[in-house]
Symmetry: C2
Amino acid sequence: MTFKQPEHRLTLIPGPIEFSDPVLGAMSTPSQAHTSPEFIATFQSVLQNLRKVFKSTDPNSQGYVLSGSGTLGWDIAATNLISAGDKVLVLSTGFFSDSFADCLRIYGADVTVITAEVGDVVPLAKVEEALKKDKFKAITITHVDTSTSVVSDVKAISEVVKKVAPETLIIVDGVCSIAVEDLEFDAWGIDFALTASQKAIGVPAGLSIVYASGRALEIALNKKETTFFASLKRWTPIMKAYESGKGAYFATPAIQTITALKVSLDEILNESLEARFAHHEQVSTKFKDAVEKLGLTILPKSRQVAAHGLTAVYFPEGIDGAALLSKLYANGFTIAGGIHKALVGKYFRVGHMGYSVSAGHIDHFLIALEEILHELK
Amino acid sequence: MTFKQPEHRLTLIPGPIEFSDPVLGAMSTPSQAHTSPEFIATFQSVLQNLRKVFKSTDPNSQGYVLSGSGTLGWDIAATNLISAGDKVLVLSTGFFSDSFADCLRIYGADVTVITAEVGDVVPLAKVEEALKKDKFKAITITHVDTSTSVVSDVKAISEVVKKVAPETLIIVDGVCSIAVEDLEFDAWGIDFALTASQKAIGVPAGLSIVYASGRALEIALNKKETTFFASLKRWTPIMKAYESGKGAYFATPAIQTITALKVSLDEILNESLEARFAHHEQVSTKFKDAVEKLGLTILPKSRQVAAHGLTAVYFPEGIDGAALLSKLYANGFTIAGGIHKALVGKYFRVGHMGYSVSAGHIDHFLIALEEILHELK
């Protein structure tokens, strides 16, 4: 029985993205016990493959899949790695970086935010200066801030951290980057990275996916517990059990969504990560070239700081943004408005991640966009 | 396109339960934006119907659906209603009651546990005595402790609380009770109740479903935030927006699983709650009668304290429990072992909730159980 999803309006927002038929079909897997051999095999495959997606071979690192969302990943970092009073340096490239700072403050972190100019990244010199001036327990980098579509150079920032403050933990919010932008967890010395299922990972929303280094885990496992559901102390033996092919219980895992994740990770790794990154970059470039050819301007200051999984575009002069979005919707495409506080109502965002990149959705969308812009002029 | 799940081994554990075809089919709903009209209508229906399931008409009460699991509901209660140092009285009827106590302690609650005899409930006189001796911010009741299959009389306990300590918040863990045992949120004066999607609610795992009274919310909304992802301060405007037909964002909701929840709540309410409770009671009685007729003994001390959504049964003398479970598995039925610390390996648990009650699964299971017990003798 092969599942085929019906024709439907395409969701081309920067997550939830469109899902492949095999992934979506796996969501309807009949009930299995969380300790059944079938589900243990599924979860084992997922946890093993996460190592490949995060490019980590260190046996002391560990992947985690919890029921939750990207947001929960912030809580996991804030409660397991940071203690009240700890200084944390937040590099802000938009709304999501600032929300991560809010989350850290709730748990008592002493947060310093360096805010980039809108559409740009935080200059490396400023990062270095801040790290030299003060001693930080951790630095947070939002790899791609979905609100601005700005991509930070995690590798370069990590090099600065390793040079100036090697004891500072490197925490990466990879919600809109993992499986579309390169992230080399071990090679770059990342300590904690988080993502969610509904972005480039290509699975319906409902999963918080995080990855911790051995150094991060040493802190988490020896720290006084300040959370229950998000506690890595509770989850580490569970994940280690499943990864080694044994069942274990702390809280019931989302069996159907994790089964869909297995299918999606298989698809991602069958293609190879490098091929996937190249394909996303190619579609991204084609899309950005096309919108610029239509006379539109992208939000990032330059292509160099523009993410490859989505494009944020200013509404053209003289065009009613709401009318454009609503016409696109009527023509079968859901795209997203802008959510950066300073620019609400001034731009829109188009996601081009995962299935939509290979299924030609972006080409169809570009044709519709051109026609509707012409109509609205 | 009507979805029909393939024949498969029946999962007759006390959750995840078997799902109906329409519910499971809804898990494969094509991608929708979390702020699309389609999903807003779905989530609105879910939140409106939760009021009916919890039997609450108080406009100040509020339902919440978060990505998570039953366990997360404990964190939501512990972080939003309780402050460090607050005294909490926990009535323990098994493993899950004790785990809730663990969760409360993590967040600094001063916990007093009254532990029932294994297979029994906490006597009302002991509850009254404890409430008279000390002033508690809250009392927790595990409506059905899934580890023992004991059902507590929430109504009677609530009456004692209202009489002796009306200021004490009443928190009900309804993970294995909501939609199978009667719970009258308003009429009994409950302040907070929590459940998960994969039990009698009849939806794949992945959702934490909680319900708060106006009195509970007044505390939660005026309390210093000590959690981010589980914060009712953050989620209340979101749920109110969706319930009134508007989109809002804090963290991306699990669109497919919430769509399945819509279908399941429609099924539950179409049947009527009272008919559903009666049907579950009838199947439960039939099942318990049948296993007793086979010479087996149920774990609860009496039928009066035995839950209706599952049955915990001692392995008969001279029968190898592991062999019984494994033969049942080979014959197409997954059932659960016991997890109460004092009795691990001595009993098994069969879930009879939701779809399996109407689809005749329990009858098939009884035939298999009888045959296999005969073989093993």
